[in-house]
Amino acid sequence: MPTVVRPAVRHPGLPVNALGLTVRDYEGGMSTLCAGCGHDSVTAALVQALWELAVPPHRVAKLSGIGCSAKTVGYFLNGAHGFNGAHGRMAPIATGAGAANRDLLLIGISGDGDSLSIGIGHLVHLIRRNLRMVYIIENNGVYGLTKGQFSPSADIGSTTSKGTANVMEPIDPMLLGLSLGATFLARGFSGDKAELIPILKAATAHRGLAIVDVISPCVSFNDHEGSTKSYRFTREHEVRVTETDFVPPRPEILASIGWEGITDLTLHDGSLVRARAVPSGYDPTDRIAVEEHLREARACGEVPTGILFVDSSRPDLHEMSGTVSQPLVDVPYAKLCPGAAELEKFGSV
């Protein structure tokens, strides 16, 4: 794929990243979400993370389904292609895009309805395929765009603004991912950008499916007293279980790192992501321990954040499939067509 980087001359005052681009070059269209919507903060964190990482914008493919969250693909990275598809179908679209061009950095933005309700079958199977992709769930416990019905992530006892309480067991995408063999699970909070940015960076570095569950309050329909997805509730109950640092590529560091809550996620360019455990002993590579921790946290109403689980050992879709290292879209037709002589032989009885 040819690389086209636009010269960063238009914003002389702003700092530039390694590509000479300013943060403006990572922005998108004007948001039409409600003022204060958590999703806008996630967009901002993403813009910052991608700018800091100096990801070439055109190398990204933005993907989403339908929902307020899904709209945000229009609000960052104008220089990247995007696909704002159908409700619940982001995963298959991403699978096709990733299958066709493995060099794309796939960034998907979904909602808790989009991913855990209509799209959950696809999510489950995306986890199995371990497609290399950043999969963000902007989790607000409701269907925002259709005006506030409970989504499957609503906690038992969480109430609507009119006071009706949810009675069904919630789906926690982190627990679900653990049970299905997901390889990267992190949780952030749209109100905590400082934590979210390095998580997002780490996610882009993961070779496989990186699911980032971001609690992202819906100010119009689920930010009241009684909601467990409100700003206030999340702020009061958020507990960081790991602190994430993003370490630019410095080979000498690599050698010196052993495990003390540090997970060595190596970017394709050699960068490193460190997840330091906050509760002593939290080990984001121990599936059972993580599960136990998450369950206990849930029982006492905590919202654990940080990189919760990482498994870098599993192959991604292309590795499982043994495909060529070149993107399939770049394989020239001449290499694909068996030619007339071969056809001549076909079907001899």
Binding site: H122, T323, E344
Partner: protein
Amino acid sequence: MTATLPVRPAGNGTAPRVNEISIRIATVNGTGSASANNLLMRAIFRMGVPVSGKNLFPSNIQGLPTWYEIRVSGRGYSARAPRPNLVVAMNAQTRKRDIAEVSPGGCVLWDSTWPLQEPPGRDDIHLLEIPIARICAQEFRDAKQRILLQNVVYAGAVAALLDIDMGIMGALVDERYARRDKLREANRRALAIGHDYAHKHFEAPLPCHVEPMDLTRGSIIVDGNTSAALGCIYAGATVAAWYPITPSTSLMDAFTSFSRRYRRDPDTGRATALIIQAEDEMGAIGTVIGAGWTGARAFTSTSGPGLSLMNELLGLAYYMEVPAVVFDVQRAGPSTGLPTRTQQADILMAAHASHGDTAHIVLFPGDPAECFDFAVRAFDLAERFQTPVLVLSDLDIGMNDWVVPRLRWDQRYAPDRGRVLHPADLEEIEAYHRYSDPDPDWVCARTLPGSGSKGAWLARGSGHNRLGAYTEDPGEYREVLDRLSRKHAASALRGPEPVIERRPGARIGLVTVGSGGPAVWEAAELLAEQGVVTDLMRIRGFPFSPPVREFLTEHERCFVVEQNRDAQLHSLLVIAVPAAAERLDSLLVYSGIPVTAAEVTDGVMTRLSPEAAACPP
């Protein structure tokens, strides 16, 4: 029972003739009869005689009745034959019915290991008995072989009865078991046993037997799913996604095995195609659309229930203008229906699949050769028109063995990737807008993800204007919708033209589609013999091209022959050509079994009869 074969009066069946024979082999599924039937068919083919095979099998894995029909026709008729001249009745369960269906003067070869419980109730046919199971039990040791080789025994007997070249039969067995000596020997022996038994006990060959011709040179035997898969290989497809469903499964199976050969990087041995078994059909079509948007040639294969599930995303691809190729190998509906029976009942859905105003390009291959060609064309059309193309095959074409001209490849072929702007092209223009600047086909240029920021756009299924931006403005929204409508209409001129065959003086037209071709062609010949001269048209694409309209309006009366209950093609024709609405009449065959010429001629003659004329259609 008699073993002598005086030619009896043929009744109202087809008189037995040399090289005009229809054989029906009744077995139990899961007992391995397929390869024996195949052997017979291939041997006849190698004798240079046109032949076709229809497999009528149940929707289960083991233990239910299944039939295989082989039609030998020196005249080249390949539609399903009306009634068999020779029945091989290996299934005691269905034997009574099998005997009842043989045409008068015909023969039934049956396994007399299990005697008939009641008299066959017919004296106009010949009953030829061989105790096949008993023979196999005596001759072969292995329990599994005893079952499998029963099939080879009847193949040997049929070869004797029909005078099929035993040299060829033997050679085919040898080729098949080239590297498995024991199996080869056992098969050879079973073949000889059947052959010898028949020669010894019956007056073989029968009067209606096979004589060598030279009509299959340059032809091959192939099923449509295999050739469609090969077409995808030649078209350059690199991404395939599917969810298993009868009768389309063998298409992806074939693509998978072709890919082992033709989608391997010679240097690294790694794959140049990615085949994804999706979690369901929405996953499959979604993957195809994602890959198509990214620039790969991608396809899926499915059947009715899967197509139903793809409705939503097909509308998305239509509105976003993303290429996608879908093979729908139709089976008998509605709902689960008869998964192993054929029908053409997804036509209406395919044309407009999805809510809202949505219209697709649909191709109707008529045989496996066209499955290959149309697979390639489907990708070209999908990319040129940036839209889903549905290839509507059916179980009859997809899973049955057809004799078709050897597939040919034009080395000059280059994929029509349609209007794609690459970075260099983008440098030439000031600004890029996804839905602006249509070409004469009303197609706008697209750009591919990863190819640069200047061409970046956000694909959306929500309302958008010519720039690709979200809009709720009535005029902007309508502008795009109108262009889509024109684009769809324009594609009519680029799709496959109908196949039309004219006969001097014909005022009646026979119109058909897909697998209806052979029966309608045969019917036209039969009708001509009865003095009813007809022109023929086999439609091959939707939207309909001008010749379709002309044909319909040119004829006083047209019969639309299709294999569904609700006259779906007829409906689309009436919508497209209201001027012909009153001239069109339907002939509908939808029992799940491929249409025969007799059903067409009967239908036409009934409708043309004076009584029918009294009450207009």
